[in-house]
């Protein structure tokens, strides 16, 4: 089969681009462990969130050297716990679910942006390198008070 010389060049270019994209994706997923917030099989009965561990006691727990787990519930129209404080440089593992409707959990300026679905437990890890106040907001329309739904993470 005869292929035009220029055609060979653009086919090689396209294939190498595809190879680089897939390689990056593979390294990110398998070597660095980046997964979507829903990449697991953890579920919770959405009608019993407030009685089910760990959501019966939402809060900040230290689990290692400057490493914290934050268990949260996103409800109409707020987040529990309302106050979160971690030191600068802390790696925080968020575990979030909803007892009512679909909510969002976004920290603008970071990669933390997940959907909080009733019955599903969403996970996300972020390292807060700089001190400051980080806004957490809901970016899924959840009802009449949606625009009021926010909280602040204080990094000291």
């Amino acid at each position: 089969m005869h292929i035009h010389r220029l055609e060979k060049i653009w086919l090689a270019f396209g294939l190498s681009m595809l190879f680089v994209f897939l390689l990056t994706l593979g390294i990110s997923a398998f070597a660095r462990g980046n997964h979507p917030p829903s990449a697991h099989r953890l579920t919770v009965d959405p009608t019993k969130v407030n009685e089910t561990a760990p959501f019966d006691n939402p809060g900040v727990r230290q689990i290692g050297d400057n490493e914290y787990e934050v268990v949260m519930t996103a409800y109409v129209f707020g987040y529990k716990p309302g106050k979160i404080e971690v030191p600068a440089g802390a790696t925080v593992h968020f575990t979030v679910t909803s007892p009512d409707v679909v909510h969002g959990f976004e920290i603008p300026g970071t990669n933390v942006n997940m959907m909080v679905v009733p019955g599903e437990v969403s996970h996300m890890t972020h390292t807060f390198k700089k001190a400051g106040e980080y806004l957490v907001l809901c970016n899924e329309y959840c009802g009449i008070g949606h625009e009021m739904m926010k909280t602040v993470i204080t990094v000291k």
Binding site: H2, H4, E7, I9, F13, G14, M17, T24, N111
Partner: protein, 57 residues
């Protein structure tokens, strides 16, 4: 057009294999430039979004 060896043209007819880059092949320069521009656009946007992801980690 090239002619067959046993054609009526005799000695002048057969000139061996035709040149691959003969005038019948379409010019793909314009297509090549368009494809490369599209490819460059895809690569630039992909890498800028990837760098944004890495910076925000």
């Amino acid at each position: 057009m090239w002619r067959s060896a046993n054609g009526a043209d005799g000695a002048n007819g057969w000139r061996g294999k035709p040149d691959r880059r003969d005038s019948n092949e379409p010019s793909l320069k314009g297509t090549f430039v368009s494809v490369m521009l599209l490819g460059a656009f895809l690569a630039v946007t992909w890498f800028s979004i990837f760098m944004l992801f890495m910076v925000r980690q």
